[in-house]
């Protein structure tokens, strides 16, 4: 079974939900699927700290950047800005960074294949604390656990450069 077939099956089972940008006529250039926990983080006003503190609009704007194929940018020093692979273990955990707001967010996930991102959980940056904190490790471990619950033994998409993960419209910055 291909990874695409697996994703379609998980979608049919209600375990993954594809993200479709609101209010756009541009066809999706990249794929994004949310786990049930990520859907809750995005939509549940009673339980989601990210929704409360960061806001749906900022989260959706970041997700739309990805799906619409807009620039995945680094800064002048060649450092990641929007999308970053986190230092493991566990390996191959990525974060989408929502930074241009008072309370920042980090959206955790893994790549199923090139241009196909599976987001498993959203966190506020405040919750995660300093790099390497227990909260960071827990969040990364939870992401790996969520991946395993969805995909079993299927490993995340491998790669050594950002271009192995993002096919087009992406700055060239190191991911390790």
């Amino acid at each position: 079974m291909s990874i695409a077939d697996q994703i379609c099956q998980l979608e049919a089972d209600g375990k993954l939900t594809r993200y479709v940008p609101p209010q756009t006529r541009v066809l999706p250039k990249r794929r994004l699927f949310l786990s049930a926990a990520a859907v809750q983080d995005r939509t549940d006003r009673q339980k989601s700290a990210v929704l409360l503190l960061v806001g749906r609009a900022r989260i959706d704007s970041a997700l739309t950047r990805w799906v619409s194929g807009e620039r995945i940018y680094g800064d002048a020093k060649g450092k990641h800005c929007f999308l970053k692979r986190l230092e493991g273990p566990p390996s191959d955990i990525w974060e989408v960074r929502v930074v241009e707001c008072d309370v920042q967010a980090r959206l955790f996930g893994r790549f199923a294949e090139q241009d196909t991102l599976i987001l498993t959980k959203f966190h506020t940056r405040r919750y995660l604390g300093k790099r390497g904190s227990t909260e960071w490790r827990l969040a990364m471990t939870d992401c790996e656990r969520a991946w395993n619950a969805l995909f079993g033994i299927t490993p995340p998409h491998p790669g050594t450069t950002i271009h192995h993960f993002v096919s087009a419209n992406c700055d060239d910055y190191p991911i390790d």
Partner: protein, 139 residues
Amino acid sequence: MTPDELAQYGYERAKDVAFDAILQLWRRREAEGMKQSDIAATIGWDPALVCRKLQGPSNWTLKTIGALVQGLAGELEIKVVALEDPLPDRRNYHAYAEYPTPVLTGVNVNPKPISPSGTPFDIWSILRAQPVVLESEHD
């Protein structure tokens, strides 16, 4: 999305689109040898401010955008299109084309689409009815 969230989303998208437009010209100018200090000198800004502005979408004003456009030796064009207008190029790649929407069955399935609905003018029904034209179909 609530009306407030939709309005805020529009603002966030405007920031993203403005940033990407500026960044695109900056990447070109950078390849041509321009430096951020050149932009700063042209528009009388502190180089650190230029650097900060080019790091990511932020609360730019029209004044900020206009200044950066001048600093990059560019010209601003603003275009707003209707959602129902045709795409400029119908030969457009659709990333979900190989991931058909599943037929949802069973009791534990969440049938809610993740895209918003209930906008006063239901443009989505029109857009959904438009056929997806894949690039390969035209080659």
